[in-house]
């Protein structure tokens, strides 16, 4: 699978939490190659690849992204907006955005001019987010409504080595992993029934994955998300390393035998991996999925990512590919063999 091309395509489609229409259509088209595609009440996109073993496996990656939501149109015709999901307000000044109004509108996040900054103020993130769409108040009122979503404009960059950067790699990288794993599983004639869910609303309520997990009633669930990769200013003990392979989650909320099985599969297949040890919840869809449908054995794989929830999220393509390989290898080796 050409992961760079797939990621470019996946990140170009918008899907701010709760309004996943565009990415949902894109995902449905891409997953159709691997099974029967359907949607549900929360707009999750599901792809079922049927097997004969009787074992049912659910793979989850969320397709929503962080963004902003319009609160009001100011008398001057600017938009006042609030974070939708955990948007990082520190990075928004002078960012270019798309407002998903009656039609997509280009906008710029306002920034305080230097001459109005008091001493020390320049370091502070702005309290409210104002968007300049260059329209009169009347035109703005016609084209934009409170509740409309706003996303950082798409910009896909290739960096040194195999690094790429774009907004919404959290968690389009996870969708790419699911696509890659489904491709491998299909080619290998996987005996299990594997359903991939591109879930909605992770960044706000984690609602999509819970609904999908209830319906799926699976024997095993594997969630794929992104997690923190080390930056010069962060703590090594809280981060993985970019390019060092999938991060296998260990947390009280996850099923330990699944975590161990993932490690074993990585060793057997010669796939590089790293451990991500967490003291409580994992902060991903995996936490909620595990408690659905009377309880599901659940594991978590994360693609290391720098600058999460900004417009310049960065990943290594090799990590995406290795995460897909590990996911497929774990499923193909069958049950939860202990280490």
């Amino acid at each position: 699978m050409d992961y760079q091309a797939v990621l470019r395509e996946l990140t170009a489609a918008s899907g701010v939490s709760g309004d996943e229409r565009e990415i949902g259509q894109k995902a449905a088209r891409l997953f159709a190659a691997f099974g029967e595609v359907s949607t549900d009440a929360l707009n999750n996109v599901l792809c079922e690849m049927r097997g004969t073993s009787g074992r049912r496996i659910l793979l989850d990656a969320h397709m929503d992204q962080i963004g902003l939501v319009v609160l009001e149109i100011t008398p001057e015709g600017f938009l006042r907006a609030a974070p939708c999901g955990g948007a990082d307000k520190r990075v928004l000044s002078a960012s270019r955005v798309t407002v998903y109004g009656k039609e997509p509108l280009f906008g710029v996040v306002t920034s305080t001019p230097p001459h109005l900054q008091k001493d020390g103020e320049s370091a502070k993130a702005p309290e409210t987010v104002l968007i300049d769409i260059g329209l009169s108040p009347e035109r703005a009122q016609t084209l934009v409504s409170p509740g409309d979503r706003i996303a950082l404009r798409h910009r896909f960059s290739t960096l040194a080595q195999d690094r790429v950067s774009a907004p919404a790699l959290d968690d389009r990288a996870g969708l790419a992993v699911l696509l890659g794993a489904m491709e491998i599983l299909k080619a290998a004639g996987c005996p299990d029934t594997v359903t991939a869910v591109c879930s909605t609303r992770e960044e706000t309520t984690e609602g999509g994955a819970k609904a999908a997990a209830f319906r799926a009633n699976a024997d095993l669930c594997l969630a794929v998300d992104v997690s923190f990769a080390k930056t010069p200013d962060s703590k090594a003990e809280l981060c993985g390393v970019l390019g060092a392979g999938p991060m296998i989650g260990y947390a009280p909320s996850l099923t330990r035998t699944v975590s161990e099985g993932l490690c074993q599969a990585a060793k057997e297949s010669g796939i590089p991996y790293q451990l991500e040890i967490m003291g409580g919840l994992s902060g991903t869809n995996a936490d909620g999925i595990a408690c659905e449908a009377g309880g599901v054995q659940t594991g978590l794989l994360s693609v290391p990512l720098r600058y999460m929830h900004t417009g310049v999220e960065e990943i290594a393509l090799q990590d995406v590919e290795n995460t897909a390989r590990l996911l497929a290898a774990y499923i193909l080796r069958g049950g939860n063999a202990p280490c």
Partner: protein, 336 residues
């Protein structure tokens, strides 16, 4: 032409790309020279010789970054070249060096920040550029110390006649002067495209002495803060309000007679024109009016939101008003 100029990268001291573009687009009927600092000085003959020597100037440089150090892990440390608010750098992509390598400026994720850190953008000295290199050696293969990094700010039109781009300050001045140079003028005039404005109006000081004009008109881009929540006079000037002519800023007390003349001409020719309601900012006039034994100087500016960011935003109608005003003002001064 303005969009093409904005796409070029030209930090203070590294103005070659803009200068070469301008030279390539000069009409055949002008003479020009490039001085020791890199200022481009163009003489254009008009239909008649001028009574007074009038110089128009705009600066070619833009605010940018300069790479000062490469860490063992392959991250680039940098210094700003000109005044840049860390808020417009954090979480943004930049283009580094002559190869245009993409770099990212970010920090630890918001999830890992303390309560205080969540609201505070790191200081510029704590920021670094990530080009994806995993070691100093890998980074050095792509970037050298002293390379500049630039905002990624593709020119984009939006809304009702708005344009956003990096470096509108002061490519809009360059574009307006180039446009004048390509038209027929009534009188001889001198056009200076200056260097190093953003680090202290240095090129203009040299060029003003070389030209020694009777009058100077600085064509600029000036801060507009016409935003919700900014009270009255602190808005400074407004997009859609026309060309901006200030009476005073942090670098210059403008010639009062020229100030009055500008507004009179604007009224006569029905050109939208506004003043600044706050003593703020500064431009090449600061150097020019004190140079060569003193030069009567005025600045005419395009109002611009979010200046010194990847998204400087101006309105086409104001650019057009500024073009009209500088033309009529320059011709009037030539013959005054």
């Amino acid at each position: 032409m303005l969009k093409e100029l904005c796409r070029l990268n030209a930090a203070s001291g590294r103005e070659e790309a803009v200068r070469e573009y301008l030279i390539a687009h000069l009409p055949p009927d002008v003479s020009y020279k490039v001085d020791a600092l890199g200022n481009l000085i163009v003489e254009k003959k008009g239909k008649s010789s001028a009574k007074n020597k009038v110089m128009l100037l705009s600066h070619m440089d833009e605010v940018a970054l300069i790479v000062t150090y490469i860490t063992e892990e392959g991250f680039l440390k940098f210094a700003p070249v000109g005044g840049i608010d860390p808020r417009v750098l954090f979480g943004k992509a930049v283009s580094v060096g002559s190869k245009g390598v993409t770099g990212l400026i970010g920090g630890k994720a918001i999830h890992q920040c303390s309560k205080a850190e969540k609201d505070a953008v790191p200081e510029v000295e704590d920021l670094y550029i990530d080009i994806g290199a995993q070691s100093k050696e890998q980074a050095e293969a792509l970037v050298a110390l002293g390379d500049n990094a630039y905002f990624c700010g593709e020119p984009t039109e939006f809304g009702d006649g708005f344009l956003t781009a990096k470096a509108l300050d002061d490519r809009v001045g360059n574009a307006l002067m180039l446009q004048m140079l390509r038209e027929e003028l009534s009188f001889d005039m001198t056009f200076c495209f200056t260097v190093q404005e953003e680090i202290g109006t240095r090129g203009a000081a040299a060029a003003a002495l070389t030209v020694s004009p009777d009058y100077a008109i600085v064509i600029e881009c000036t801060t507009a803060a016409d935003l919700p929540e900014v009270e009255g006079h602190k808005q400074v000037c407004k997009l859609g309000g026309g060309a901006v002519v200030g009476f005073m800023d942090r670098g210059t007390v403008y010639d009062r007679a020229l100030y009055d003349l500008a507004f009179r001409l604007a009224k006569e020719h029905e050109i939208p024109c506004q003043t600044k309601t706050l003593i703020a900012g500064g431009n090449d006039a600061a150097a020019v009016h004190k140079a060569a034994g003193g030069v009567r100087t005025l600045a005419v500016s395009v109002p611009c939101r979010y200046i010194h960011s990847p998204a400087c935003t101006a309105k086409q109608a104001d650019i057009d008003s500024t073009a009209k005003l500088i033309r009529v003002l320059a011709e009037t001064l030539c013959n005054a």
